[in-house]
């Protein structure tokens, strides 16, 4: 311990601390300044940025003693206190709020600190200056468009000018609350660093855990010796398979994933957990992991889904009926032979998409608290940022051999999810350790462990044959898909079903035969990821569409226009579309935006010097809700209080998309309350009813409806009381502006509640909303109760001397049914587009023979602000009859057609078509030089040669 003198946020500190601390650790652990977040510990993501003497640095790799004698400023020091002690937000904080540049909020402190240093140095930055400053400060939610605008706006405020108006999209006439861009209630906490994510919680006596994972992608664990680890001073517990009290399995659909792999059991991927250590510090726990001796008997590795299907492939789950075939999914529609007989042109190609990592900026963290710690913890409690709290509870209870009711899952804020926080991570492990030690236990994954462990987007190989008549009408689609499900089932069945059923694209295709093989391999498991399989099939479908258009000499937009699904069309799964099919309108709007003003001078591709430019179009559709016959329900309750406020409760998760605001708006709308009088409590299995999983773009529709109906129930209850009291029929009562008006007089909402209570009328109403019934695949009828639609047009430039591709602009139109909160919705669209842009241009999670190469964030580049294209996003509101106020899902639809729009644009720019992602500039340039028109390799195919200099 040595003295460290620092001025932190204006306050002098003399600290007696260890010299081995990083600045981030000092701030978070020693000083409790948890506003500074750690995203990678690699100086890659930038979200830990703080200022040292005014200069932004990555605090995760900045030795604290390097700052000796200096001034440090963190997000907690951005706002200042007015004389009245009222908090005065920094202009950046205000403008990040106003421009909706905050979603999950986890990266927000880093973005703002980096931007604050920029504005201090350059009060009037251009776009380029902002991109230079924030190039290595990542955000996975917003797509950066709103961030750029917020920074410009803050700069204006700091220069004494008017802020920029928020770029609100145009929407249909708003209702009282619906259709307004209300702010997420805790938004100020997210810009001041007060917002608490799981790792920001601490409990008395809390200890720290780490997980030992398999050294091999496929091996029998022969022996585990924990004695050396147990002997390490500070180690409190080492748990193995024998310590699992209940069932040694978890899984969202199939219980095939061991909690811990025990002796003489099989480890099936390098993320499999072998042992758990808890110790007084995370460092000691980490050291102890190295003292656990494990003997493995390596088994042959299944590294590829196509190989996995071959008869000679080793079995990933020995003894399992069906072998490595996790699921064969079939779509049969019409008469395929007839379809191809009617076709004048047929194209057939094979497409490949890689494993994609969610890279939510908050790595997984769970805290287990034993029963009886204090009044708040009467039962085993798990704190976690989870997309499915009730399923977590069930899986924890099962493994702990407890009734569900003896476990409580309390959802914390989630620093991004995107589907990657649906499966169990550390929830069961902390439950076991908390139970064993009877102390609170925190298990925080490092970024590197997160990369290794959690389920990813399925890699796919998709062969697809498309037929069309000379007039452009599609006649048939035949496709074969392979999906790499990895070691455990997770949601493979569902994801690959969605890939299969959407493999005709959003078109009227009379004949189709589609087969998909979801395979077990020894790769990391694949599961839910925004776009849920449709992202992959759309890459194939939409490029085949352009190939057809080219064969026919037809405009690619025209081809899509001719075939677009509309009301009355029957999909390949036998579903007759009855309402809310806004695809044609999205096509029309994009077309109008693209070439409405060019008077026939439009070209899809052109050259300017060394740059080739091209536009490319792609359409998409995506189901809302679970569908396929799965019972889809969401429960919510609405409780009214004397003070005129209302609390909405459901277990649904807000991972940054803004569900809290949407649900509050639904309640406010029905109860005629100002938005601010509605509170929302989410994700607590003891306090909130089950809203179901936050997946499948379903929560606005499902929980939105549940809240709406519960609010209507509450309104009806209050109406009946008041109508009796005032002797007026209930339909003459009007709930508005926080009042209930009766024939010219009015009572406050709070008084109405008090009156109802005094009469013993319940003012807490729960509603369980059941989505419209759906049918399993293969049985015809409605497989889904709603679909969202979108068209995107991408503009790319390709440097013909280097092959370097830039996406310069995206024009997007999205049919969302109804925009409940236009700014939040636009944020989903912009973020979804940039995420998919990453899938197209920057991302691939590389696994070599079962062993991940992408073990560092430095090896997995997601889009940075410098990649952000200009995004023009239009909304189409073709109402879904069953949706709340007509709304349907928007979470995933923007991430589906960006990839093919970009690759179609590349083709239109340089005449080379890309069949495998991510786009490899190397292969692209060589194709150009060799006069080839197709590239079938991707970045991860670039290999070393033996040739030495």
């Amino acid at each position: 311990m040595t003295e460290l003198r620092l001025n932190i946020n204006g306050v002098d500190h003399d600290l007696d601390v260890s010299e081995s601390l990083t600045l981030a650790a000092l701030l978070r652990q020693e000083l409790g300044l948890t506003g500074t977040k750690i995203g990678c510990d690699e100086a890659e993501c930038g979200i830990c940025t703080v200022h040292v003497d005014g200069i932004p640095v990555d605090s995760c790799i900045y030795p604290a003693f390097k700052a000796q004698g200096r001034s440090v400023r963190t997000v907690e020091g951005l706002a200042c206190r007015a004389a009245s002690d009222e908090e005065q937000l920094h202009p950046l904080q205000r403008e990040f709020i106003n421009h909706c540049a905050v979603q999950c909020g986890f990266c927000t402190p880093g973005l703002m600190m980096t931007a604050a240093a920029l504005l201090d140095e350059n009060p009037e930055p251009e776009d380029r200056d902002i991109k230079v400053a924030l190039k290595d400060t990542y955000c996975r939610c917003t797509g950066y468009t709103s961030v750029l605008r917020a920074i410009h706006s803050a700069g204006r405020v700091m220069r004494g000018e008017e802020p920029l108006p928020p770029g609100e999209p145009e929407v249909v006439t708003p209702l009282k609350s619906i259709g307004h861009s209300e702010l997420v209630p805790d938004i100020v906490d997210r810009v001041t660093g007060r917002a608490k994510y799981t790792d920001d919680y601490s409990f008395p006596g809390m200890v720290f855990a780490r997980t030992l994972r398999s050294a091999h992608p496929h091996a029998i664990v022969r022996h585990i010796d924990t004695s050396r680890a147990r002997a390490l001073p500070g180690v409190l517990a080492v748990l193995t398979r024998a310590d699992v009290p209940g069932e040694n399995a978890h899984g969202i659909v199939t219980l095939d994933w061991p909690v811990l792999v025990g002796e003489n059991e099989v480890a099936r991927y390098t993320g499999d957990a072998i042992a758990l250590v808890a110790a007084g510090t995370a460092d000691i726990a980490e050291q102890a992991l190295r003292l656990i001796d494990v003997e493995y008997e390596p088994l042959p590795v299944v590294a590829d889904p196509v190989y996995a299907h071959s008869p000679d492939a080793p079995l990933v789950h020995a003894g399992r009926e069906g072998g490595n075939l996790l699921k064969h999914i079939k779509v049969r529609h019409g008469d395929l032979q007839r379809g191809f007989d009617e076709a004048d042109v047929v194209v057939e190609r094979t497409y490949r998409t890689p494993i994609i990592e969610h890279a939510f900026l908050e790595p997984e963290c769970a805290i287990g608290v034993p029963p009886g710690l204090d009044d708040e913890h009467q039962k085993l409690t798990i704190y976690v940022g989870s997309q499915i709290p009730y399923q977590d509870r069930n899986q924890v209870a099962r493994a702990m051999d407890l009734p569900d009711e003896q476990v409580r899952v309390r959802g914390t804020l989630i620093g991004g999810g995107f589907g990657g926080k649906e499966d169990i991570a550390g929830q069961i492990h902390v439950a076991m350790l908390a139970d064993a030690l009877q102390r609170p236990v925190k298990l925080l994954y490092s970024r590197q462990e997160s990369l290794l462990f959690h389920p990813k987007r399925h890699a796919t190989v998709i062969r697809i044959r498309t037929g069309a008549r000379r007039d452009g009408r599609l006649t048939a689609v035949e496709a074969e898909l392979y999906g790499d499900g990895g070691a455990y089932a997770s949601l493979s069945d569902k994801v690959m079903t969605r890939a299969t059923t959407h493999a005709t694209g959003p078109y009227d295709v009379p004949h189709a035969k589609i087969d998909c093989y979801a395979m077990y391999t020894n790769n990391p498991p694949a599961g839910a990821f925004r776009g849920f399989g449709v992202t992959q099939s759309a890459f194939a479908v939409e490029q085949n569409m352009d190939l057809i258009a080219e064969e026919l000499g037809m405009d690619p937009i025209e081809l899509r226009h001719i075939n677009a699904q509309k009301v009355g069309v029957v999909t390949a799964t036998g579903q007759k579309l009855r309402d809310s099919v806004g695809l044609l309108e999205t096509i029309r709007i994009c077309d109008e935006d693209l070439r409405g003003k060019v008077n026939g001078n439009f070209r899809w591709g052109w050259r300017e010097g060394d740059l080739a430019w091209g536009w490319g179009v792609a359409c998409a559709y995506k189901n809302t809700g679970l569908g396929g016959g799965a019972p889809d329900k969401s429960a919510a309750e609405v409780e009214a209080f004397d003070d005129g406020t209302v609390e909405v409760r459901t277990s649904s998760a807000d991972m940054g998309q803004g569900l809290v605001a949407v649900l509050a708006q639904c309640a406010a709308e029905e109860l005629g309350l100002p938005y601010r009088q509605v509170r929302v409590l989410l994700s607590d299995t003891d306090l909130t009813p089950d809203g179901g999983p936050t997946t499948a773009s379903r929560q606005t529709f499902m929980s939105g409806n549940a809240v709406r109906h519960a609010a209507i129930g509450l309104r009806d209850a209050l109406s009946s009381v008041l109508s009796e009291e005032h002797d007026r029929p209930p339909d003459l009562l009007r709930f508005e502006e926080g009042l209930v008006r009766v024939n010219g007089s009015s009572v406050s909402f709070g008084d109405a509640v008090r009156l109802a209570r005094s009469q013993g009328i319940p003012t807490r109403i729960q509603h369980e909303y059941w989505g419209p019934k759906t049918q399993p695949l293969g049985t015809g009828g409605d497989m889904h109760f709603a679909f969202s639609y979108a068209t995107q047009i991408a503009l790319v430039s390709v440097d013909i001397n280097t092959g370097v591709v830039h996406c310069e602009k995206i024009i997007s139109a999205t049919d969302v049914g109804r925009a409940i909160n236009p700014m939040l919705l636009q944020g989903q669209i912009e973020g979804g587009i940039v995420m998919a842009l990453g899938n197209a241009l920057t991302e691939s999670f590389i696994v070599e023979d079962g062993v991940p190469w992408s073990t560092l964030l430095a090896r997995y580049k997601m889009p940075s602000i410098k990649h952000t294209p200009e995004i023009v996003s239009h909304l189409v509101e073709d109402p879904a009859i069953e949706g709340p106020y007509g709304a349907k899902g928007v979470g995933e639809i923007p991430s589906i057609n960006t990839m093919p729009a970009i690759t179609n644009a590349i083709y239109n720019a340089i005449g080379v078509r890309v069949f495998s992602l991510p786009v490899d500039q190397d292969a692209l340039l060589l194709a150009l030089r060799h006069g080839e028109t197709e590239v079938h390799s991707a970045w991860h195919d670039v290999r070393e040669t033996k040739q030495q200099v």
Binding site: A43, I61, D136, D283, Q947
Partner: protein, 307 residues
């Protein structure tokens, strides 16, 4: 994991050497630490916690940029940001600003040092590539206290291996001749948006024109990586030295260089063939840029910040 135990901030090179000597191989030098700490944590997995880190960024002679008697001196602990913002470096060694300006992101450039870039001894370190083209010398303080100026290329022994041992020696700084009238330099590189942030190819050029600004009197070209260590592209230089400048000449030499130099393929970075093409592409861009600067006498660094 704690990666080190003690943290020292010596004020002089002699103190730093003495501090290292005291730990007898159990301490290492740290400057910005942006490579070192990541290597210790994620590559070496923190297996061997160091007894100490010895921070050289508090040594004033190592954090200065100065021009004297036609020589520019850059301390090894000068940050990339300081170089990018230095009007002296931009004027006298434009390529160094251009190469330091594309390293990492802003937060990394704010702490990462030029000496760290060189000490890392990567075959394609951006700052290194420019220093080689500038014909720089590096000053080393050996463990025995002796100071020595070495041609920069003598620092490199192999990929990631330098002549210095950061557990006992100190890289103090660099010097090179300021670009004079009729002289200039330029740097560009090719990146890909995927994977590790190492250049596919970097190219730095320093040129000296004759009085009429028509003939390439002298030049140095560093293209990296084409070898296990950064090297001058002597063959390419020879094909240009003493020749009258023309567009055709540049094109011809660039094209010949593409066929003559044999860069290797590296996994998840570039095929050998792609790299060969990039040699031509870069020479076609960087040579004319350096020549133009030498002719006009105006040298404004390009491309800083968005590498």
């Amino acid at each position: 994991m704690a990666l080190w135990e003690r943290y020292h901030t010596p004020r002089t090179v002699a103190d730093a050497l003495a501090c290292l000597a005291r730990y007898d191989g159990r301490a290492r030098l740290i400057a910005g630490g942006t490579d070192l700490l990541i290597d210790m944590q994620h590559v070496e997995n923190g297996e061997h916690p160091l007894a100490a880190l010895v921070d050289v960024t508090t040594i004033s002679e190592m954090t200065k940029v100065s021009a004297q008697n036609g020589w520019l001196r850059v301390g090894a602990a000068v940050t990339h940001t300081s170089i990018v913002k230095s009007s002296l470096v931009e004027k006298y060694a434009t390529c160094l600003v251009e190469s330091c300006g594309v390293v990492g992101g802003l937060q990394v450039r704010n702490v990462a040092t030029l000496g760290g870039n060189v000490a890392h001894a990567l075959p394609a370190g951006d700052g290194t590539t420019s220093l080689v083209a500038l014909g720089a010398d590096a000053e080393v303080a050996w463990k025995n206290g002796l100071r020595e100026w070495l041609p920069i290329t003598q620092i490199f022994r192999g990929p990631g291996v330098s002549a210095l041992d950061s557990r006992q020696d100190v890289l103090v700084g660099f010097r090179f001749r300021c670009s004079r009238d009729g002289e200039a330099s330029a740097f560009k590189r090719i990146m890909r948006p995927q994977g590790v942030a190492l250049p596919i190819l970097g190219c730095a050029v320093w040129v000296q024109l004759d009085e009429d600004r028509r003939v390439l009197k002298d030049l140095r070209i560093c293209i990296s990586p084409v070898d296990r260590v950064p090297v001058l592209a002597t063959e390419v230089e020879n094909a240009l030295r003493g020749r009258e400048i023309s567009e055709a000449l540049v094109r011809e030499v660039a094209s010949a260089a593409r066929d003559k130099l044999h860069p290797r393929a590296s996994k998840y970075r570039a095929s050998a063939e792609y790299r060969s093409h990039m040699i031509e592409t870069l020479l076609n861009q960087v040579l004319p840029l350096a020549i133009e600067r030498a002719r006009s006498g105006i040298a404004r660094a390009e491309g800083v910040g968005l590498g």
